[in-house]
Symmetry: C2
Subunit: 187 residues, 2 copies
DNA sequence: ACGTCATGCTTGGCACTGTCAAGATAGTTG
DNA sequence: CAACTATCTTGACAGTGCCAAGCATGACGT
């Protein structure tokens, strides 16, 4: 895990902690995640994290940013189709896929107790703006005739976000999600 | 708050606790809600709740059911328009309004740590089915020509749910939500 | 080579939480 | 009035986030 493990002076604890927390977030929710357990799995004392993060929320904020960056990158990658409608469809499907695959990380991104609502981290603000731009561009290409592209893009984001939540909870199976996206994109 | 307050034997603690928790959920999230604080605001000892609920989650489950019932009732009420499109629009707007007005209660309804995913309370299952039917009927009236009403209804639910989340977080102002709903309903 | 020192991690402690166990009290029934 | 049960209490335990203080370690000036 770490390069030099000679009792004290771990080497790069910050990264080890992030890694450990990332793993734990695959089974625990952000609220259920214990900073002490993160420290334990990283093999350090319960207070070591405080020398690298100002607290539990700070660590979570870092992970949320990391995750959002991954999501945006994934969204950018799913733009490589040809048909604009297919662009939009695959982007939305990809959004839902990400949320279902990493439910707790996805939740952390939008968790008001981590990034206070309307008070996003600078880095997070940039990422959200990127995502918005990505969606807006895709929406414009798919519906060039619409006067208000922003509204359509907002609807697309809302749709993807909501389907993601409903799918996470087990209310919508994968196939229903795809059908719903189709119903939104196709006309 | 209670009828007979003679030291012991509160009278109707269960309801008082629910009321207290309901109030606290206006400022605290479900995870941040302390059962002990609920007991405190109800004026009883920290262990009294355990004689009426099996634990914190049980109380939250009850509140989530209560809230979902309220939401469904509200949705049913917003069906009183005339134009089918207007039906749909007002239903979606109402869904978002509810979520924004009571963010923590709304979150509790879909919180996997309260109602385990795919394991809803019987009462909750009924309410969800009702909501689904309500949306499905409205969707059919608004788009009778569509072959797959279920997919369109699922999209509508997803849209409302996602817009609600994004609005809660402060990402979408009210007017953007309305515009997005319009973009979805109108064609 | 050696003392000095800041960095990074540790132990210890505090107030808080959810939950279990056992005791006290009050209304009910014989 | 005695026994009983429902209801609420106090007490305890393990766990949490976080603050304060102490100790090990490697770097640096001399």
């Amino acid at each position: 895990m770490s390069r030099s493990n000679s009792g004290y002076h771990h080497g790069n604890l910050a990264e080890s902690l992030e890694r450990a927390a990332m793993e734990l977030l695959e089974t625990h929710s952000a609220a259920d995640l214990s900073l002490r357990e993160v420290a334990r799995t990283a093999g350090v004392s319960h207070n070591a994290p405080y020398h690298h993060f100002s607290g539990k929320n700070d660590l979570l904020k870092t992970l949320a940013e990391r995750s959002m960056a991954e999501l945006v990158a994934s969204q950018r990658r799913s733009l490589e189709g040809v048909d604009p409608n297919e662009h939009l469809r695959s982007m939305l499907a990809d959004y839902v896929r990400f949320a279902v695959a990493r439910p707790h990380l996805f939740a952390a991104i939008y968790d008001p107790t981590i990034c206070v609502p309307g008070q996003p981290t600078p880095a997070m603000a940039v990422l959200i703006a990127e995502e918005e731009q990505l969606l807006s561009d895709t929406a414009r290409d798919a519906r060039p005739e619409l006067p208000d592209t922003r509204a359509f893009a907002a609807a697309a984001w809302g749709l993807a976000h909501g389907l993601a939540q409903l799918a996470q909870v087990g209310h919508l199976p994968q196939q229903a999600v795809d059908a719903a996206i189709d119903a939104f994109v196709v006309r």
